[in-house]
Structures are given as C-alpha cells and as structure tokens.
Chain length 475, copies 2
C-alpha cells in the first residue's frame, strides 16, 4: 500500500478519496526523511546494547522490593541523566515483597533423582522437613478438577508442553497453569503443586513466574520443574508405579517496599504538554539478570528516545520514557502511573510498550479508533524494509500500559520474534549474552520510527472508542 | 572405491592385483548381506534409546564410587542378562572417591553478581568462610606463567572460549586449562583458580571435569563458571577496576571404593576364544544423568552386540561388551581391564570404543597395521550410505581402551558429530532428552556393521606395529 510498492494505484486512490487522503497522509515526506535517518542511526550507532549491558551487568537481578530493584532505580535515574534526558525523576511506587530463600525437589521412589526446581513467585514455604507425598498427574486445570478427591494428600503435577511459536502464543496457552494450578489443586486437598516449566527450552533451568492464590482455598506451595526434570517425572508416572516426590521450599514475604517508576523526557518543540509514552519494565525475576525480560525493552525505549532527542529538530510532542516498577509480580508501577498521572492522561496521545524481548521486531499491536488504520498502513509500509510490518489491531500494548486503556489512550505494543524468548524467560539463563545486538538494534529502529511519527504527526491518533476500553487479546 | 561407485575400475584393479585382491576382499558378499540387514534392524527396531533411558532415568548420576555408580553396575548386570548376553559378570575395580558437597561463587566488587559455578572434579575445599580475593585474568596456561608474582594472593581466572566443531577439536584446545590450571597458578601463590567452562553452550550450567594437582605445588580449589558468568566476569575485568570474587567450595575424598567393569558376551560360533571388544564407560559426572557421556556409548555398544546375537547365525568370533568403570576421574576400569585380562589380550582381535555422544556417527578412527587399510576402505564404502564414512587413521580408539595399545590390539573409536556434544558434556544438562533417538540409531547402525565385520572376517586385522604402540592423537 505504500507509494513505492504501487505508485499508480495510490495516485488513483488519492484522486478518488479526496478529503480523506489527508488522513492517510499523516506520514509526510519530511517525517519520512527523518524516520529514515533515525532507522539508519539505530542500526549503525545504537547504544541500546551498551545500555542493556549496564543494567544487566552492573545491576543484575532486580525483583520488586529487593536490593537489586533499588539499584535498578538508581541506575535508571543516573542513566537517563547521563544520556541528556529532561525532567528525570523516580516516582515512588509501593511494591509487594516476596523472596526466594531455598528450594529443592527430588523423586524418592521408585528411584531417586534430583530435580532442578524453582518456587513460583509468591509461593508459600513447605514445612522445614519438606513435603513428601505421592504424585498425581494432570495436563490442564480442567484435568486437575477431574482428579477431584484423588488429589487429596498428594502432590499434583501438571505436565503440559509449551509450544514454540514466533508470536509467542504458546505461552498464553500454558501460563494459566502457572497462575492457577495451586489454587485449583488446593480445592481438592492437594499438599503442593509442581508444574512443567512454562518454557520452550530443554535446559535444567526452571522457569519461575507469578502465581495466584484463591482466598477460598488454602495456600499450598507451588514450584516449577525444569522441562527435562518434568519430562523424567512424566515418564516415571507413565510406568504406572507409585511415584513419590519430596519438595522443600523456603520463601518469605514482607511489608510493601518502596520502588519507583523511573521517568525521563525529550520535551516537544511545539506541544510539550502532549505526551508519547514509551517504555518497558525495570524489574525482573530473581533468577537471571533480566536481559530479555525486560532489560531489552528498557534499552530499546531509552535508545529510541535518545536518538530522537539528538535530532537537530525535536518532534512536536514530548517523548516520555517510563521504566515501570514491579511488572512481574504486582503491576504496581503501571497501575500507579495511571493513578498518579490521571490529570494528564488526556494529554497522552499514545503509549508504546516494549516487553517481548530483544529479538528482531516483527511489527506492532495497536489499539485506537479504526480511523487510525490509515496511519498504521503507512507505518507498516515504512517498516516493511526491516521486516517489522506485521501489525495486528487490538490488545492493550503491554501489561504496564494496560491500565491506560480505560482512558482511551491509543496503545501500541512492539512485537518481537518470540521464537527464542520463552527459552530463557524467567530463568537463570536470562542474561546479557542472550540478546543479539544486531536484532536489538533492528527492534530499536522499529521503535524509533514509530515513536517519532507519533510525536511529530500533525494530529494525534484518534483515541480508543469507549466500547473498546476493556482488555482483550489482540486479534 | 567401492564396487557400486566405480565397478569398471575395480574389476580392472582386481585382475591386475591378483593375490592382494583377497586382502581387499575381507568383506565378502555374505558378510555384506548380513551387515545390510543389521543396519536395517538398527535403524528400525533398535532398543538403544530404551537402554539409554533405563540407565539415565532409573540410575541417573553415577560418579565412580557413589551410590549411583553401584546402582549402575547392578543395572548393567541385570540389563545384559535380560538381553540374553552370555557370561555376564561384574569384574571388580577399585575406584577413587571424590564428592561434591556444596559450592557457590559471587562477584563482590565492583558490583555484586551471583555466579553459576561447579567445583572441578578432585578440587579441594575452600575454608568454610570461602576465599575472597581480587581476580587476575589469563587466557592460557602460558599466560598464567606470565602473570608470575601478580598471581600471588589472588584468584586466577582463566578465560578462553571453546570452539564449536563437528570433530570436537575445540575441546582438545581448552581442556588442558581445566586439567592444569590449578597446579600452574599454585606455583605462583594463587589462592584459587576459576576457569571459563570448557563448553560450547551459553547456559548458566557450569561444566565440571577432571583436574590434576602437582605434587610440587599446593592444592588450591578449582572451579568452572558457566560461560555466561565467565563472560560477565571477563567484561568486568576489562573495565580495569579491581574485581573481587568470593568462592566457597566444599568437597570430600574418601578411600578407594569398589566398582566394576560390567561384561557380557555373544559367543563366537567358530573361534569363541577370539574377542572383539566393544564398549563405553558406565560412570558419569555427578551433575547430570550421563546421557551423552557416556550412556549413549553404552547403549550403542550393548544394542550393536544384542542385534548380532539375535542373528540366525552368530559371527565366528566372540563379541564382548565392556561397560568400563571410572573413565571420568581415574581410568581405573580401562587400566584394570588391561591388567586383569593380560593373558588373553593376544586373543583380542580388535577393540572399539563409543564415547563421543549420541549424535550421528561420522566414521571411525582406527589404529592397526597399514595393511588394514584395505578393509577400512571397504567399510568406508559400506558406511557411506549412512554418512559414517569419515575414517581417520591413528589414535587409541578411546580412553578406556587406550591401555590396550601396548599389546598391539587394533583399536577403533566410533566418531560422532560432536557439534552439540560440548554444549551439555559434564553439565546438569546431560540428560536423556538431549539424545536424538534417530541419530542414536544411526550411530548404532555404524557400530553394528563394524562389530560384525570384525567378528566375522576370515582373518583378523593385522595388529598395530611395535613402533606405533604409544599414544598419540589421530591424524
């Protein structure tokens, strides 16, 4: 649909559509020229890998409320200042505190095998001596219900493989097991829950992640086995002999702690009160150094804004980078932002989240009034050359910006190739070396073009209609 | 060089060479027909994956002298009996005992980062409070020498990447660092040694393996960091600021324990006293379940012999499967076999070791008198169809059979595609799921053909000349 693809038909279309051609023409030649130069800069002189390295190497793991989290906030403020951002500040957010102390699991019958295990985030402890019980298996939450009384006094093991897909869709199918397994099994008197890690790798590195208890059922310990260990347990159970497992988990929770959303701005030249928000989340799980989740998104966001700030002429609107607190186990940063900035949300013209890793961008999800489709078509055409032209309509952009949905702010989510993402996501393997700088730069290029276009376009995108201001999955 | 490749030239060659054609003709049409059916059986109805699963799932880790090692010997005897082998026995071997109790390492300055670390096999403990010291880096043993007095009172960190190669050659270049690093650094008063794992992966799973102390220098603790952790430490040191690490290792050694070489036979129909030995090693490192190292070699050897034993007519000579004890940290099994069987080594017509993983066979190393070359050419041609025709002359077949070199027994080593082998070798990731059954069956096919041919050929291979009966690397 872009001019260079089919110039004749576009010329005809322009003649036919008359007035509405203006709407399709949001991306002016001057904007396109600037976007081209920004893409070139992102691909050749990006500091995104260096920013990512700073966060992962010098801060490391940073679960909400931990010492690492506080170090990350300090790093964020110092980094944004050093890179020349304006109005840099840390906006206080209270976050929940949960801490992993120790964990172990082993099969004790019919043979002894030591498992690689990780408590799920929020899990309670086992007694000090652990829980030793026979294991019963299910392959879904519905199958846990079907176990019924057979779960009583047992360890319920939920075994389901997570499919590898470029769009990451396999995660959506198995993550409900992680969130809801414990509450479901507790209903029938299970003593603990083990799940096959929600991941696509075959490493003996378990995947942690958030889980939820239900006020109506007892809180029972919940942990993930690495995929090879889960598959071993699955094979042992398939033989039909009784299988016994010992699980020991020690965790603690504390009172809410202080954390912060870290913010910096590139003030707009004409409409500094109008804001294009771009960001990721600063917190990470505790096992790795949070490179793909979400150091990548933070570095992409920071670098995209920095590149725009370095232009001879800044765009019309302000670009606000927000590094959100506590996405992983509370969403307090995203929720707090929506509350704290309620009075200026009407001036937010768009929000983009980058929280799908550091591999190459494949496009965007977008949610705005249907009339924004013309602008999106233009951007698809522009981004086709770097392979980032798979746009899907719908969704809420990302967890941190989802609380903005209710105010109708157009929400975009950077989409990355997620084929490798769930290999390392929420594991000890989520480290700096897993991010390919070439792909990270391409993702930054996709981000910088969109951010600039939204900040420079003559008119803001039409806001999400009232009827669409509730969460749903992208189409 | 085979008939079907260039029939005309071979016919001419046969006519011209007269008597020597018999030597080239060791693989008779009848043998070839039997080998073809054995290859077919190995590829379609192999029990190698099932045997491997039995060892890894039901025994698991089995470092020499451990409870797992004893369970492995029992498994080996039971398995060979169940599969119908004759003369099944466990031949006692005394093995050294070393045990990992606990280990941890972290960077403590300029920032704190927790490392994934594993004590090298044989390492002494640190004091209970650990060793905390500044780190100095070297990239080779020679570079450790060059550090000289700068190593005194420090932790010496040897950082060198292991190259991924199909022939596994990268390992040979870096493994001397694992073996000799501690002794070298101790010479200059270093307190401990850390190495970058000798591995080709990027997982936070360190690679253990044997190391050697020198009687002339103090025994200092030695451990491997996972490759991502080693690279993080390397980057931190590259910044030029002082870097401090705390290392805690607790290990113990005990008196020699009883283990065994497990043996079973397929008796020959004509010359039962002549032996073709085929085997791998039964012990494994302690971190994983020893699937690629060397459960794969054991299962390939057992299944190759079992398939031959199931033929309507057994070959002339006896096939003896030997599952060697203690390859990893002592070679007591291989050495013990050579001593215990000294009186019948003259009746060993060949020995083949499988200890290069479970991926597809690429060929063989072979060491015998040069006249064996004609037979090897025939076998290369036969195995070309399954891609196992890369034969190299030289070497000693494998560690366990290398003590047989002095007696001149023709020695062969099954060569596998080692591209993936050093990703998991000696790590917690060495588990059943890492072996691809299709490739394991192909390797079994390559093994069964060679084993049968050696056991059935009219004449044994000419033995290794006296001048070649010392160890050297394959050509």
């Amino acid at each position: 649909m872009s001019r260079w693809r089919c110039p004749a038909s576009i010329l005809v279309l322009s003649a036919l559509t008359g007035g509405s051609a203006a709407a399709q023409d949001r991306v002016t030649p001057a904007m396109r020229a600037e976007m081209e130069s920004l893409v070139g800069a992102a691909l050749t002189s990006s500091r995104a890998p260096e920013i990512l390295r700073g966060l992962t190497d010098s801060v490391g793991p940073r679960l909400a409320g931990s010492a690492g989290d506080r170090a990350a906030v300090a790093w964020g403020v110092a980094t944004l200042r050093a890179l020349g951002f304006s109005n840099v500040r840390a906006e206080k957010v209270l976050v929940p505190v949960w801490r992993r102390i120790s964990e172990s699991a082993s099969m004790t019958a019919p043979v002894r095998q030591l498992f690689a295990v990780a408590a799920l985030g929020g899990s309670v402890s086992t007694p000090d001596e652990g829980i030793t019980a026979e294991v019963v298996e299910a392959d879904s939450l519905a199958a846990v219900d079907a176990l019924g009384e057979r779960a009583r006094g047992k360890i319920v093991f939920i075994w389901k493989k997570t499919e590898r897909r470029r769009d990451g869709g396999g995660y959506g199918e198995t993550v409900p097991i992680r969130h809801g397994g414990a509450a479901r099994a507790a209903k029938f008197g299970a003593l603990a829950v083990l799940i096959r890690s929600v991941g696509t790798d075959d490493n003996r590195l378990p995947h942690t992640g958030a889980m939820d208890y239900d006020a109506k059922t007892p809180k029972i310990p919940a942990a993930a086995l690495s995929t090879p260990d889960a598959d071993l347990l699955h094979r042992a159970l398939a033989e039909g002999r009784p299988v016994t497992v010992t699980l020991k988990i020690k965790t603690e929770t504390g009172p809410d702690a202080e954390s912060a959303n870290v913010i910096g701005e590139i003030p707009g030249r004409e409409k500094p009160d109008e804001i294009v928000l771009v960001g990721g989340h600063l917190d990470s799980w505790d096992l790795g150094t949070g490179a793909v989740d979400d150091g990548a998104g933070c570095s992409i966001s920071i670098e995209a804004a920095r590149l725009i700030g370095a232009l001879p002429q800044r765009p019309r609107r302000t670009i606000r980078v927000v590094l959100f607190a506590n996405e992983e186990n509370g969403l307090r940063g995203g929720r707090g932002y929506a509350v704290d900035h309620a009075s200026e949300l009407s001036k937010h013209v768009a929000a983009i989240e980058a929280d799908a890793g550091g591999d190459r961008a494949t496009g965007y999800s977008w949610n705005a009034a249907p009339a924004a489709g013309a602008f999106m078509k233009e951007m698809e055409a522009f981004l086709a050359g770097i392979g980032a032209d798979r746009f899907v309509k719908g969704g809420s952009g990302g967890a941190d910006i989802s609380p903005l949905l209710a105010s109708g702010i157009p929400l975009l989510g950077l989409r990355n190739d997620s084929s490798r993402y769930f290999d390392v996501h929420h594991t000890a393997n989520d480290t700096y070396d897993k991010v390919d700088p070439v792909q990270l730069n391409q993702a930054t290029a996709a981000m910088v073009a969109m951010t600039y276009a939204l900040a420079e376009a003559a008119e803001p995108l039409p806001r999400i209609p009232e009827s669409d201001r509730t969460r749903r999955r992208p189409e």
